[in-house]
């Protein structure tokens, strides 16, 4: 059907909700990015056919959702009304769950979420700290509805915000967004209301509203999850923004590395057009709006807003000089407002529930929530949404469950290649824009990589610089050549060939690049180096002066030894050593000649007794 007005929305919602009430059980199968990699499609197909086979189709509703959050435990399944959360649900486990819980009424505790801190299974999702500590505004529908159903979206209150916005003036909408304190979630934290106000006031026959879905920071997958799990919410947020600034054209720029997000968003666009929620005279308001999805082609710099606009225009993704700012002359020369995915996901709730409701969450100048992608050496990897102001300690140790393999915490890297690291002494810092910036890190887009004690910070800095070198577009000299020199120095240090003067040169280069690079990519590129230098200078010095890598990561500085207690004298290491530096008799402990060793690690890989140690 075509939705013509607000009454139609209510009708659809009532019908859909009535339909849901017919079922005794609902099985939600997560179809998020992590679970897809864990073959959740097989689980979903099995559940569908087994429910049919058992004649339960009238009693059990099976819903394929977006990301539920615990990405390393996939495929995950939630069973309602009991709200039992099952993990690693293979088709075999799914059969047990249907047989024993759906039919038999018994909860299979050993298949449910295991909380590493409490050292026990927690069957009910509401009791699991990972979920209980979250506040979901952005993700309030993600993982809870079928991602491809506009009816389900409407039944959860979808499109009521845009309906309300159509009854407001442009200024009223912008005032509400400004009062909410919402700031750009892409990382820089520019107040959204001020940006929109500039967009509304800009003069032009045609204006554009753009969504930056080029989530390029390695370690960040929040936007991907939001789009894949709740694509209609992005459409609604952009439509409200478009109406507020007077833009009829929306563009979403999504990176090519996210084929699932591209597929699901394109499908959502088609459905929205079919139902009249995109196109002409939406909800009888007289407002016309449509969105086009443009796909990137693998260039990190395109996350920078001016480079992004060039890329949407089909050109090389090189940044433009500012001014003119996008709101003056942006996409195709039109006044353009660009916001990050997560920013748009906040809009509908702000309009529906009001600025005051939104601003009750958060601290100081950082209102609302922030979605983080927890990854690295943390037990509960996945997507979480927490109110701003939560401490990093709570985020990593309570929600994240702590560090893997019983390791000690070393650092948390925030903001990807543009950000910095937070160490143990600052773990109680509140997660908000100002506090993090004061520590030399940034909020960033939400990638939070947790690093345990076996991470070498010099190598990490080198890794980020390598990334920047690969991704620098080459347009300006500081970024193109400056980062190359920095990388060379970092490589020297990780190979034990650095000097203490190198550290001064690194700092000098860092400040020069920050001050002179043309776009955000270059200006923030030295941050990981400055941040690790500030927090882990002793580690740099260990590489330079002591010629050792404290974390035993930098292979050029590692030394391999054979533990005579463990060595059985099988000769395997000696036979595999490419430089014949291992000697010893059969059935007697072997010895490595440190002067000849090239530190390739072949002995360690081949030893079947764990006798080769890297120090």
């Amino acid at each position: 059907m075509r939705i013509k007005n607000v009454n139609d929305l209510k009708l659809i919602a009532d019908q859909y909700n009535a339909e849901l009430k017919k079922y005794e059980h609902t099985i939600y199968v997560c179809g998020g990015g992590g679970c897809i990699s864990s073959k959740c499609q097989d689980t979903k197909n099995f559940v569908d056919s087994y429910i049919k086979e058992q004649g339960l189709s009238d009693k059990v509703n099976v819903i394929f959702t977006g990301c539920m959050g615990t990405c390393a435990m996939g495929p995950v399944v939630l069973v309602e009304p009991e709200r039992i959360y099952y993990v690693h649900v293979t088709p075999e486990r799914a059969k047990d769950i249907i047989d024993r819980q759906i039919i038999g009424g018994e909860v299979i505790e050993e298949y449910t979420f295991f909380d590493a801190n409490l050292n026990k299974h927690i069957p009910c999702i509401d009791d699991i700290p990972f979920f209980a500590e979250q506040v979901q505004i952005v993700l309030n529908k993600c993982g809870k509805i079928p991602f491809d159903s506009i009816e389900a979206y409407i039944a959860k209150g979808g499109f009521t915000a845009v309906a309300k916005a159509f009854g407001m003036t442009q200024q009223q909408i912008i005032d509400e967004v400004t009062a909410s304190g919402l700031r750009g979630r892409g990382g820089a934290g520019f107040p959204t209301g001020i940006k929109w106000s500039a967009g509304m006031k800009a003069q032009g026959d045609r204006k554009c509203i753009v969504c930056n879905a080029d989530e390029g920071d390695p370690g960040a997958f929040m936007d991907r999850s939001a789009i894949e799990g709740d694509p209609f919410c992005l459409i609604e947020g952009m439509m409200i923004g478009g109406f507020a600034i007077g833009a009829n054209n929306g563009y979403v720029y999504c990176r090519a590395e996210y084929p699932v997000a591209v597929e699901r968003f394109n499908k959502a666009l088609d459905i929205a057009r079919e139902w009249g929620m995109l196109g002409e005279n939406i909800l009888g308001s007289g407002f016309n709006f449509d969105i086009e999805l443009r796909i990137g082609a693998g260039a990190f710099v395109c996350g920078e807003e001016t480079a992004l606009m060039n890329s949407i225009q089909g050109e090389r993704g090189e940044p433009r000089q500012k001014p003119p700012f996008p709101f003056e002359s942006g996409l195709f020369g039109c006044p353009t407002i660009i916001n990050n995915v997560e920013t748009y996901y906040n809009i509908a709730e702000i309009i529906n529930r009001g600025a005051d409701w939104f601003a009750q969450y958060g601290v100081g100048k950082s209102k609302g929530t922030k979605v983080f992608a927890l990854a690295g050496d943390v037990i509960n990897t996945g997507i979480v949404e927490v109110p701003m102001g939560m401490s990093l300690r709570k985020l990593i140790f309570e929600i994240g469950g702590g560090i893997t393999d019983g390791m000690k915490f070393k650092a948390a890297q925030m903001g990807g290649p543009s950000g910095g690291c937070i160490t143990e002494k600052n773990l109680d810092t509140s997660v908000d824009y100002e506090s993090l910036t004061a520590l030399g890190a940034i909020m960033g887009s939400g990638g939070l990589i947790v690093m345990g004690e076996n991470t070498c910070m010099v190598d990490t800095a080198r890794f980020f610089m390598q990334f920047i070198q690969d991704e620098s577009c080459g347009k300006c000299t500081p970024c193109r050549i400056g980062t190359k020199r920095m990388l060379e120095i970092l490589e020297r240090i990780t190979q034990g060939k650095g000097t203490l003067e190198d550290l001064d040169t690194l700092e000098e280069l860092s400040y020069t690049i920050k001050d002179t690079a043309m776009c955000g990519l270059g200006q923030t590129a030295p941050n990981p180096v400055l941040s690790t230098l500030a927090n882990f200078r002793d580690e740099y010095e260990a590489h330079i002066v002591g010629k050792t890598c404290p974390a035993h990561i930098c292979s050029a500085l590692a030394k391999y030894y054979i533990d005579p207690e463990k060595c059985k004298g099988c000769t395997l290491c000696a036979r595999n050593c490419p430089v014949q530096c291992i000697s010893g008799k059969v059935k007697e402990p072997h010895v490595i000649d440190q002067n000849k060793c090239i530190k390739c690690g072949a002995c360690m890989t081949n030893c079947k007794f764990g006798a080769v140690i890297k120090k």
């Binding site: 990015g33 992590g34 897809i36 990699s37 864990s38 615990t70 990405c71 390393a72 996939g74 989530e215 390029g216 920071d217 390695p218 370690g219 960040a220 997958f221 991907r224 090519a256 590395e257 996210y258 084929p259 086009e292 443009r294 796909i295 990137g296 082609a297 693998g298 260039a299 990190f300 890329s311 949407i312 225009q313 089909g314 050109e315 090389r316 993704g317 090189e318 195709f332 992608a373 927890l374 990854a375 690295g376 050496d377 990897t381 996945g382 997507i383 890297q413 990807g416 990638g447 990589i449 690093m451 991470t455 990490t460 890794f463 980020f464 990334f467 690969d470 991704e471 577009c473 890989t605």
Partner: protein, 168 residues
């Protein structure tokens, strides 16, 4: 020099259906602004890569110079001007995968296949690539073969993963 480059007219004959598909794509985008990258995506989907002839065809039919099309295609890492191998093995070196040991996976792959990153095996079956964050950070480290994502891979798993693709 490839067969195509030696004699484009012959190649075109053989690939008429492919060029027709490309023409349809260009047609589809004709009313929209700035669609070069989207057309190049479609072209690479059709031909597997973007040889000179295809870029020239796109240029001629969209009103660009070949050098302009090439300047765009060469900017983006997704576009390739060399034929793909049968199976692309991509190791993610995003931060999470790096921290969780992605580098060791590359070393193992190089050891097993006897080729470096960006190279193809002599039989053109496998090539090794480093990829930036595929957004599966919760499953780090990951290896992507063609479109299949393998999660939490250990160096010891690599041989078994490759075996699934041999002869396919």
């Amino acid at each position: 020099m490839s067969e195509v480059a030696k004699n484009p007219s012959v190649a075109k004959e053989e690939m008429r259906a492919d060029y027709e598909k490309l023409a349809n794509v260009i047609d589809l985008y004709s009313g929209k602004e700035g669609c070069l990258i989207q057309v190049l995506h479609a072209a690479q989907e059709i031909f597997g890569y973007l040889p000179f002839e295809v870029q020239k065809y796109v240029a001629d039919n969209m009103g660009f110079s070949v050098s302009y099309v090439s300047s765009v295609s060469s900017f983006y890492s997704f576009f390739s001007t060399t034929p793909r191998t049968k199976h692309d093995v991509k190791v993610c070196l995003g931060t999470a995968c790096y921290v969780r040991g992605g580098k060791l996976l590359i070393e193992k792959l190089q050891e097993i296949l006897g080729i470096g990153v960006g190279e193809a095996t002599a039989d053109n079956v496998f090539s090794i690539h480093v990829t930036r964050c595929v957004g599966a950070c919760g499953l780090a480290p990951v290896v992507v073969v063609d479109d299949d994502v393998y999660k939490q891979v250990k160096p010891g798993d690599i041989a078994g993963i490759l075996d699934q693709y041999r002869g396919k």
